[in-house]
Amino acid sequence: MTPRRILVVGWLVVVLYAYPGYMSYDSVLQLLQARDGVYTGGHPPMMGVEWRITDALIAGPFPMLVIQVTCFLAGAYLLLRRAMSERAAALCACALAWVPPISAVLAVIWKDSQMTAFLMLGTALLLSTSRRVRLGGLALLFGATAMRYNALAITFPLVVLLFKWTDAARWYKRYGIAVAAWLAITLCANIVNSALTTETERTYLWHDALALADITGTLRYAADISDDTLRAELEGTPLLVTTNIQATARSTAGADELPERKRMTFGTGVYVPGLWVSTFHLFAESSTDEQRAAISRAWRSIVLSHPSAYLAYRWHVTQERIHLGDHDIPSGTYVWFTDVLDLEGSTAKTGHNAVPSKLQVQLHKVMLAVGTSWLFRPWIYLALSLVMLGFAIHHRHRDILAVLLSGLANELALFVLAPTVDYRYSVWLVASTLLAICMLVGRRVRRT
């Protein structure tokens, strides 16, 4: 079988598992935004524009599924081809796309899936001998950056280590241009997303979620602070309690008092949802610019002056996110065609529904079961990545080093930025680690 045929079969297998593409609450919301042309900023407007274009041709999630699976497979193949024969590269690329920790995310129309696919293909194109193709790779990395806020950490090692304008440049020129390129794509992605956001519908995710959680989490582990001090530091914020402020932050208040839809956004786990419950007992969402300014001020004041408390809270979040020490974990797979929390409602709103084929029914069962296994524990890939890093440095494999560093950079960014526990945040870590392992083994086998 030729490599092309192997890739086609691999592509078909993933598409048949995922057809026409699974959609969660986020996906449904993004599709509706794409159709309305109103982007709130809570989700990447660039992805909304992309979906708007594809939805004009074929309604629903299928074109987006095609894009993400095709880009991922093509990128994986091109990268693996650098380390092994074409046939072996095709087989490995298919295996990468099929492996449950990756296919579980590739099958869903998420910004994480789009980002992963663009990263994979963009990285592969960065290594081309043609400058035009390398610029195409940069364009894809720009797309990836526009998909998720933490992608800028991922693209930094990739662009700096792998992008070169010309082969003849001295090292300082080469890295200078690479850093400038990274800055350009990062800034452009942010500018474009900001420009596309509908001003009247803009949401303030950081102010209304992460910043408040950071304050609450830091207060949990900080030394005792009086209510007077806290009232002064939190003045102007949408604070809901004025007494026993730190005690409220430290408590695990009843979740039943919060709206159900809000509780569902807290994700899985025990510690993190508990933290969010405390946060929304402590703070309401901001409604004015003055409140948001006060939140920024309070964040700087509390978080920066209690760094160890902040780090302790973030460590607890990370521990739960990468399932370090967890005995049982919730399934990391999602296998519903519309929002599982509101199947009929999302069907009516999007005009989209599907039923699974017999094959899909069986695969769903398998994937849901596998989703609770060790394969879906990011800490394992983190550890593997660190081990592989040593090999990549020792054998001077720049491309593998860049890929591994990008995965680690992702986790570093998530240490600070991840708001909830969700397996898909770490999919690039998983993909980069498995890719690096394949490439290292491939080169080793080739040498022998």
Partner: protein
């Protein structure tokens, strides 16, 4: 170094349309056949030196850097992948899919789908199609499975047939034109028994004339599927099998026709028996399927219909603006032009029959199309057959 490896550029001996555009590309397709071109390109890729003898094919070689690069010797410019004949044909297929996705569903389509997911097969629609759909739903649920099968079968079959009559590139473009030609595209977009019949008939015809061993038997299988999808396809499969099927080993023409007729009889009996097997109601199903439907009304551009249980069946109801606009345009064409009039194609087919007496593939299509319309008043196969045959007859009559 053989002559093939020495070819740097094909300019002399080629038709006037072959020219080198600076550093861009060479249009070779009009001057050599697709197979020859592929062979030359493949050999040129492995060339080590470029002497200048006369080539075997009688084409004069000369060292043109762009041409050499184009042929892959110096690794420079390559012919555009996007301009390959297969890609052009595939673009036509994609146009059908974009227009139709996930498949235009009418009440008939929903009845077939309900049958496919239920146990009871009513005789109003060919139950074997529901059985086929049930099998497809093992891997791909919903109408898109049938849409992909019927449209891909047509596209592949049409391209294969046309390639026998004209250069590959022209075949690609004609296939594209055929697929987007409204009276051909519209039925292909609908999840109907007739549409599956049309797609598999074209595919079957193309496979029957293949020179590769065993492939003609796949053609018979395709024609069996056509009979299962629409039992009155038997009048369309008869001329195709009798004229095109050639069993292995040389036989006299009379013997060949006898074997072909027996083969046709076999696939027809199997098809009708399967139809009877899948029908549960005590009703004479064969007669019900193969007699002309007095109340048959051919809707030129069928609208998408949505029963109340469409969403429960997993059939999305949202259409895109492009699809809506396209449907309106097609309805306008149907209303204001004679393009959707079956009589036009009947006249065309009858006019083409005398011209295609020495072209069994075209003749088989035409006779089947005429019989299908005359006996069962089903125009879909007539239209497709007439259009395909027209292209083939014209291409073969062009001076070379």
């Amino acid at each position: 170094m053989n002559d093939i490896e020495c070819i740097d550029a094909v300019t002399e001996g080629a038709s006037a349309s072959a020219r080198v555009f600076g550093s861009l590309q060479i249009d070779l397709e009009n001057s050599v056949s697709g197979t020859e071109f592929s062979r030359l390109r493949s050999a040129a890729k492995h060339a080590r030196g470029v002497p200048r003898p006369e080539c075997e094919s009688g084409v004069r070689c000369h060292r043109e850097p762009q041409a050499r690069a184009f042929l892959g010797i110096s690794g420079g410019m390559q012919p555009s992948r996007w301009a390959r004949p297969g890609v052009i044909a595939a673009a036509g297929w994609l146009a059908v899919v974009v227009y139709a996705y996930p498949g235009v569903m009418t009440q008939t389509s929903f009845e077939v789908l309900r049958q496919a997911r239920g146990k009871f097969f009513a005789p109003e629609n060919p139950p074997a199609l529901s059985a086929l759909w049930r099998w497809l739903e093992l891997v791909l649920a919903g109408p898109s499975a049938l849409l992909l099968v019927q449209s891909a079968a047509f596209a592949f079959g049409a391209y294969s047939l046309l390639r026998r009559a004209m250069p590959e590139r022209a075949a690609g473009w004609v296939t594209f034109a055929l697929l987007v030609f409204p009276p051909v595209m519209v039925p292909l977009a609908v999840i109907w028994p007739d549409s599956m019949m049309v797609g598999t008939l074209v595919l079957g015809a193309a496979l029957l004339v293949s020179e590769r061993p065993r492939v003609p038997y796949l053609g018979l299988a395709a024609l069996l599927v056509a009979t299962l999808a629409q039992p009155h396809a038997l009048v369309a499969t008869l001329p195709l099998v009798v004229m095109l099927f050639r069993p292995r080993g040389g036989t006299s023409e009379l013997k060949r026709i006898g074997i072909a007729f027996a083969t046709w009889l076999a696939i027809t009996v199997v098809g009708l028996a399967a139809t009877k097997h899948y029908t549960k109601k005590p009703y004479p199903p064969i007669a019900g399927y193969v007699t002309p439907r007095a109340d048959h009304e051919w809707i030129a551009v069928p609208p998408r219909e949505l029963p109340p249980d469409a969403m429960k069946l997993g059939v999305p109801f949202r259409t895109t603006a492009i699809q809506d606009g396209w449907t309106s345009a097609l309805s306008g064409i149907a209303e204001h032009t004679p393009l959707f009039s079956p009589w036009l194609y009947l006249v065309l087919a009858l006019a083409l029959i005398p011209l295609s007496l020495r072209q069994p593939d075209a003749l088989g299509l035409l006779v089947g199309g005429v019989l299908s319309f005359v006996t069962y008043r089903n125009p879909n196969w007539l239209v497709a057959a007439a259009c395909l045959s027209l292209a083939m007859v014209i291409a073969r009559r062009r001076p070379t």
